[in-house]
C-alpha cells in the first residue's frame, strides 16, 4: 500500500512538471521582482497588478518574426534588502530575459548586484533612489528620482505652504527614507528654511511623541517619506494630536490604504506621485473592468478599484520591456540589455526615454491631496522644479 502511494505521488509530481512543456508557442520570461509581504507588500502588489493587467492586454510578443508567449515570473523579495539577493537569484535561475521592479529602493539595490553579475537587465518601476541605477550598469528606471522628488517637496513647502520650518521623519536603516530626507533637507535649506530631522526604529507603532516634537518645534510641514504601514500610523497620530500643519508624503503614500486611514480625520496631506487617475481614461477604464472581474486583483488593490500610480507604472514598465525585447530581436538577456537604452515608449504616465545613466528623463511630478471627507485622492497640480 505504502509503495503504491509513493508511486502515485511520484507520478503526480512528474505529470505536474511535464504539463508546462505542452505550451503551443515558445515562451519569453519577464521576471517580476516585487515585495508582496512586509512593510512595502501593499505597494508591491499594486505594482504587480499593473504588470498582470498589461500581460492580459498584450500576452504575446513577436521576436524576429516568431510569436512568443510572454510569461511573468513573479518572486516575492519581502521588502527587505537582506532578502533581495536570494529573490533576484531565483529570477536569474528561472532564465528571465529582463526583470521589472522593485517597489522600494533598498531591495532594488540589493538585487541589482545579482542582476549585474548575471548580466540580466532590470527596469526599476518606482524605486526612486539615485544609487539604484548609478551603482549598477544593468539597472534602468522609468520613474523620477529622489533628488527631484525631495526638491519638489521642499519647493512646495516653501512656496505653497509658506513655511520655513520643516520636520522630517524617516525609518532607521531605510535607504529610501533616508535618501529622500537628505535631498529634501538640502533643497529646503538652500531655500533658507530650517529642518528638524528625526528617525524611528523599524516596527514602531507609537508616533505620538514624534508628532508632539514637530508641534513643539513649530514645523509647518512634516515630511515623512515612509512605508504605507507607517504612513497610516503617522496620519492617525497627527490627527489625534491635532497637528495643524501639512503632512507631506512621497510616492509610497499613494496607496488606497493610506487614503482610507485618513478618512474622517482632520489632517491635510499632500503627496508626490507618478500618475493621477484620469490621466489616461482608456487605461483607467480597462484596468478597473479587469480588477472588478478578478476578485484576487481587487483584494490585492486594497479592496476597491482606485487606480494607484504604481499600478500605472507597472503597466508602462511591462510595455517598455516588450519594446526592448522586440528591438533586441532575441530573448537573450545580453541582447535585451543592449537594446534597452534606445527604447522610446509613450506610456500612460508619459514619454519614457533613458539618459546615459539609465534613468528616465522626467521633470514633472503629480501632487495629490487626500480628500478626507470621501476617502479618495484628488489631483492638485503638476509640479516641476524649474
Amino acid at each position: 500500500m505504502k509503495k503504491f502511494f509513493a508511486f502515485a505521488l511520484v507520478l503526480v509530481m512528474v505529470v505536474a512538471l511535464a504539463v508546462p512543456a505542452y505550451a503551443a508557442n515558445p515562451v519569453v520570461k519577464i521576471g517580476v521582482f516585487e515585495p508582496q509581504t512586509g512593510d512595502n507588500g501593499a505597494g508591491g502588489k499594486q505594482e504587480i497588478l499593473g504588470m498582470q493587467y498589461a500581460n492580459s492586454v498584450q500576452p504575446t510578443v513577436e521576436i524576429a518574426g516568431v510569436e512568443y508567449d510572454v510569461q511573468l515570473e513573479i518572486v516575492d523579495n519581502r521588502t527587505n534588502a537582506e532578502n533581495g539577493p536570494s529573490a533576484a537569484a531565483e529570477l536569474v535561475n528561472r532564465d528571465v530575459s529582463v526583470v521589472l521592479g522593485s517597489y522600494g529602493s533598498g531591495v532594488s539595490m540589493a538585487g541589482g548586484t545579482v542582476f549585474q553579475e548575471a548580466g540580466v537587465p532590470a527596469i526599476g518601476v518606482t524605486c526612486t533612489n539615485p544609487q539604484v541605477t548609478s551603482d549598477c550598469d544593468v539597472y534602468f528606471r522609468i520613474c523620477f528620482l529622489d533628488p527631484f522628488q525631495g526638491t519638489v517637496h521642499a519647493n512646495y513647502a516653501v512656496n505653497e505652504v509658506g513655511t520655513m520650518k520643516a520636520y522630517t521623519l524617516a525609518m532607521l536603516g531605510s535607504d529610501y527614507d533616508q535618501g529622500l530626507v537628505y535631498y529634501f533637507t538640502q533643497a529646503f535649506e538652500a531655500l533658507g528654511g530650517e529642518v528638524i530631522s528625526e528617525d524611528f526604529p523599524e516596527a514602531t507603532s507609537n508616533f505620538v511623541s514624534y508628532i508632539n516634537n514637530a508641534k513643539a518645534a513649530g514645523a509647518g510641514v512634516i515630511f515623512a517619506p515612509v512605508s504605507t504601514n507607517y504612513a497610516q500610523l503617522i496620519i492617525e497620530a497627527a490627527s489625534a494630536q491635532g497637528y495643524e500643519g501639512q503632512l507631506l508624503g512621497s510616492d509610497t503614500w499613494d496607496n488606497n490604504m493610506v487614503v482610507e486611514s485618513s478618512t474622517g480625520k482632520d489632517v491635510e496631506i499632500k503627496i508626490t506621485t507618478f500618475y493621477q487617475e484620469g490621466g489616461n481614461p482608456e487605461f483607467d477604464e480597462g484596468i478597473k473592468a479587469w480588477m472588478n472581474a478578478n476578485p484576487d486583483a481587487l483584494t490585492n488593490n486594497g479592496g476597491n478599484d482606485m487606480v494607484s500610480a504604481v499600478t500605472a507604472m507597472g503597466y508602462d514598465a511591462y510595455f517598455v520591456a516588450l519594446e526592448a525585447i522586440k528591438a533586441a530581436g532575441d530573448t537573450d538577456p545580453a541582447a535585451v540589455l543592449e537594446a534597452l537604452p534606445g527604447v522610446s515608449y509613450e506610456g500612460v504616465s508619459g514619454l519614457i526615454e533613458f539618459d546615459e545613466i539609465g534613468d528616465a528623463k522626467r521633470d514633472q511630478a503629480y501632487i495629490k491631496t487626500a480628500n478626507t471627507a470621501e476617502g479618495v485622492w484628488e489631483f492638485v497640480k503638476v509640479q516641476g522644479i524649474g
Binding site: 507588500g41 511623541s209 497610516q232 486611514s261
Partner: protein, 292 residues
Amino acid sequence: MEALLPYIINGISAGGQYALIAIGYTMVYGILRLINFAHGDVFMVAGLIMVYTTTSMPLYISIPIVLVCTVVLGFVIERVAYKPLRSAPRMSLMISAIGVSYLIQNLAFYITGGLPKPVLNPIPWVSDTITIFGALTKRVTLITPILTLVLVFVLVYLIKNTKIGMGMRAASKDFETAQLMGVKINSVISFTFIVGSFLAAVGSILYFTNYPSVAITSGSLPGLRAFIAAVFGGIGSIPGAVVGAFIIGLCEELIKGLGYSTFSDAFTFALLIVVLCVKPTGLFGEKVTDKV
C-alpha cells in the same frame, strides 16, 4: 513642564500597555521558570482578531470574542506545546516556546497575506480625541493606566485570597512539593496562561485602538519591551512587572521628547543591562538561593 506633559501622558499610557503584557511573562516565569516567547505573538493575534471581528459584528459581541479567543489560544498553546515537555529539560521548553512564536507569526502571515491590517472600526468613545491640561490625546490614553491598575489589584487579590491563587503561590515557591501537597498543578498552570492571555488581550485592544494597524510583527516590539519591563522589575514579581513597565514606558517617551528619538530603544536595552549588572534579580526580585 508644560512642554513635557504630552510625553508624560503618552509614556504612562505606553507603560500601562506594556504592564498588561509584562504580567503574562512574569506569571508564567514565576511558576514554570519559562520565558514564554510566544506571548508577544498572542498579543498580536488578539489584535488581528479584533480587526476581523470589529469589521463584521457589533462591539458588544466582538470584544468578548477577542477576549475568549485569545484566552483559548493561550490555553491551547500551553496544553499542546508546553505540557508534554513538563519533565523535559528547561531548554527544550524554551525551544518549544520559540517554535510556537514562529508558528503563530507564520500562520498570521498566511492568513493576512503578509500585509499590515488597519483597524478600520476602532472602538467609539475611547478613541475620541480629548484635551487634558492643554495637551491633546485620545481617551484611551487615559483609560489604559487606570484599567491596568484596576486589573492588577484584582489579580493580586485573586492570588492572595483564593484557592487557585494559593496554588499559584505554592507552585512558584516549589513546583514539586506543591504537587506532593495535592495542588492540581495542571489546572494552576492553565489558569496562569488564561490570566496572562486575558491581560494580553485587554492590552492588545487598548494598544491597537491607539495605534490602529496590526502587522504580523506588531507583537515583537511591545513584547520585547514588556519582557524587559518584567526583567527590570524582577521577573516573577507582579508589582515589579507593573512598576518596570511604567518606568520603561515613561523613559522611552521622555527620551523622544528630549530629542534623542533615535536612541529610545537603545536606551531601554542599556537600562536593562545596567539593572542586571547592579541588581541581577531586578527591582522587586526575590533573592535566589540555590537548593542543594
